[in-house]
């Protein structure tokens, strides 16, 4: 029998994998992929709670807005990555340390 807990565990696994990707990847595009994983796991949680609670479709509405914000986020983030590539000729995050010098 699949219950709410199974969905929560699935999204916890996706979330921690996303955290791992964000923390360990050097390539900026790869970090973005980790962020997408995190947003997807949050969406699974929202929709699971929307199904197993008495609040109607509010959770699904939140998920729609999360998807909208994710689309806006990835567009701006890729613009920043492209600008960084134009300036530094690399997208490796440990090379973007101008402020530290």
């Amino acid at each position: 029998m699949i219950t709410l807990q199974h969905y929560l565990l699935l999204s916890a696994a996706l979330f921690s994998l996303g955290i791992f990707g964000v923390l360990t990847r050097k390539n900026a595009v790869n970090v973005l992929m980790g962020i997408e994983l995190i947003l997807n796991s949050a969406n699974i949680n929202l929709i699971a709670f929307s199904r197993y609670s008495s609040h109607g479709l509010d959770g699904q509405m939140f998920a729609v807005f999360v998807i909208v914000v994710a689309a806006a986020e990835v567009a701006v983030a890729l613009a920043i990555v492209l600008t960084m590539y134009r300036l530094l000729k690399t997208v490796s995050l440990d090379r973007a340390d101008t402020l530290r010098r």
Binding site: L17, F20, N27, L32, I47, I67, A71
Partner: protein, 166 residues
């Protein structure tokens, strides 16, 4: 175990497995294609949860938009003759520890909490209700989201334009 349970287990395994490939693979292209399977897996999870409209939205926006955008990002930020597209990793041990701690705490919260559950509702089409909610209760967030998208569009175009015509 019913057919539904087996289906959920298979989809969850595929989703988590391809998510692991996304964050562990050394090749950017492999990561991007594994992300495709993760997004489809999440869409099927939405279907299992009875969210038909969101499953379609997931496929349209994530697979059709965000993934293509990420692939553009991969292609545009590497010289085209450099075909191996490898990526390096750093902070492996701290990252692993933090990810493990996050997973443990989330799993504990998910399993130990007494959730205030209602009996499973009948699965019904959601698109009409979502449309009504957008035009009534959620009208202000809906308009705000459209302004956010416009701002993001202009901002992204602003960031990547050529500096010569400033």
């Amino acid at each position: 175990m019913s057919v539904f349970d087996i289906l959920f287990c298979v989809v969850a395994l595929v989703t988590v497995g391809s998510a692991a490939i996304v964050v562990l693979s050394r090749s950017l292209i492999y990561s991007a294609f594994a992300l495709l399977f993760t997004f489809f897996g999440v869409a099927i999870v939405y279907v299992l949860l009875g969210a038909d409209f969101l499953a379609a939205t997931q496929v349209l926006i994530y697979v059709g938009g965000i993934l293509i955008l990420l692939l553009f990002g991969v292609m545009l930020t590497h010289r085209l003759y450099n075909l191996d597209l490898k990526t390096d990793t750093f902070q492996l041990i701290p990252g692993m520890l933090i990810a493990f701690a996050v997973f443990t705490s989330l799993a504990l919260v998910a399993t130990q909490t007494r959730w205030n559950l209602v009996p499973e509702k009948q699965i019904s089409p959601t698109t009409e209700t979502i449309g009504r909610l957008f035009m009534q209760e959620y009208l202000l967030p809906f308009e705000t989201a459209s302004i956010l998208l416009l701002v993001a569009l202009i901002g992204a175009a602003m960031l990547v334009r050529r500096r010569s015509d400033v």
